[in-house]
Assembly symmetry: C2
Homo-oligomer: 288 residues x 2
């Protein structure tokens, strides 16, 4: 992608770090630095490649640096990041992993998981309501966990979760139960006939020869079929769902809203609206 | 100073960190990022403010990040930085402190102290020879130590060191003795009548009311009077020396060459010469 021009950092720059292993593929530095530049914020995001063994000490040490304002985490550090927060957002807690960590004015640290929130925001942005809906989620890993929690947080009536590992599925439901009692249930695959939304949060579809993660047979014709896989942009699931007339949501739709969610979480003013801030910098979707 | 535009970092960016406490005053990010940009190097320097208590863990942790290429250190971390290197340059070893640390291709780390080397390079750049000269250095602290070592490394015949603390002065001479036997001596203040160069490496002159760090009476008329204080740009010492017809070197002259020394140390190609590299990236003044 294009590497936009930004002001060089100076001694007063607030530094944000995205940690990953590997980290070469991340696009957050380019995207977030464009946000910082637009907001006129003397802030900068840089990547750091660190192993799982070394990540805990690196996060602790960077937190001790006074001008480090926050972190993003990509694979495999989303579980580790959670343990460095004083305040854990509801979605992160239920999902058991986080991808953003922020220094607060009082020196404490807040974390949240925006994978699921990004997914839900992407759905809402194109008019797919969540409130009151029944949703089937395939896959109870990191992405599926975050999405299930965010769906419930956004008012979904019921989330039905399937996974090849029945214990993993039931552990997730137990965590969700604590926040949203009675609304998350573990089900066997294939039980989504009457759902409003069905989501693939498994890796099936990364390979062109992969079988479908679930059958489309008998699905409610008004259902939305959603995908979290971004490469390929159109998986076999999306292609077949579209061919059968279902509404679909592609994987990138969950990524696109996340940059603005990170902006709010990191309390960078939104200068899009009218050349000046359209919201208090202390606002944002996060409630620790 | 002007904050030049640079490319945003991306996932492949090599990160350099300047640590200090405070760090807001540093100009290295702006200066080094201009060097990286000119060289077409996907590298970036960011500041990190860290206390002396937290600096050791931060340096260790950042060294564990695969894309961190090196460090600069400003007050108070120059002594700490030295202890994180596998290979210590002669000037850093003699001075007992360092301001640059570099990751080598084999994963080891090399350090050097460019305060003194910058000073000597600044002298040479304006035609003040060092080889064979007798030099008086006032002040055996971090700056004075580094300058004394660099002068000897550059071939000064003898360096005479004075400090308000006689033990500190003798400890420095003992360290210098190991590298350059018989050429560094501790002397009482005022014994510089026959020297070729006399240098103020004390804090005296930071305040406009400060007394001169040494008398100019009886100084060899051809001597160079040099200053390391940068603010004010013209100290009382420099003003009086100039009025009496001595050649002078101002404090900023030791800073100006350092950026290019860091460039070489960090093995960033020099693209000034003819649009392409004028030297092998493995060259540079540093000999671990």
């Amino acid at each position: 992608m294009t590497r936009n021009m930004i002001d060089t950092p100076d001694g007063r720059t607030q530094v944000f770090v995205i940690i990953g292993d590997p980290v070469t593929q991340v696009q957050a530095p380019q995207l977030m630095n464009a946000v910082f530049a637009k907001a006129g914020s003397n802030s900068l995001m840089v990547p750091m490649q660190v192993s799982s063994d070394d990540a805990p000490a690196l996060i602790r040490a960077l937190k001790s640096a006074g001008n480090v304002g926050g972190f993003l985490a990509t694979i495999p550090h989303k579980f580790e990041l959670l343990s460095h927060a004083n305040h854990i957002g509801a979605v992160a807690e239920a999902a058991g992993c986080a991808n953003a960590l922020r220094r607060n004015a009082d020196g404490s640290w807040s974390t949240e998981n925006f994978d699921g929130i990004g997914f839900v925001t992407g759905m809402k942005n194109v008019g797919h309501a969540i409130g009151g809906k029944t949703v089937a989620v395939y896959g109870a890993g990191g992405a599926g966990s975050s999405i299930a929690a965010a769906l419930l947080d956004a008012g979904a009536e019921q989330v039905r979760i399937s996974d090849v590992s029945q214990p993993r599925c039931e552990q997730l439901c137990a965590r969700l139960e604590r926040h949203w009692p009675g609304r998350a249930i573990a089900v066997a695959a294939g039980r989504h006939l009457e759902v409003d939304i069905v989501i693939n949060a498994t890796p099936m579809g990364l390979g062109e020869e992969d079988p479908l993660p679930f059958t489309l047979e008998g699905l409610n014709p008004n259902a939305v079929v959603a995908e979290i896989i971004m490469k390929p942009a159109e998986t076999r699931l999306l292609r077949e769902a579209r061919a059968r007339g279902f509404k679909t949501q592609a994987g990138f739709a969950m990524l696109a809203p996340q940059i603005d969610l990170y902006r709010q979480f990191f309390r960078i003013p939104d200068t899009d609206a009218a050349g000046n801030s359209s919201e208090a910098v202390s606002s944002g979707g996060f409630q620790p």
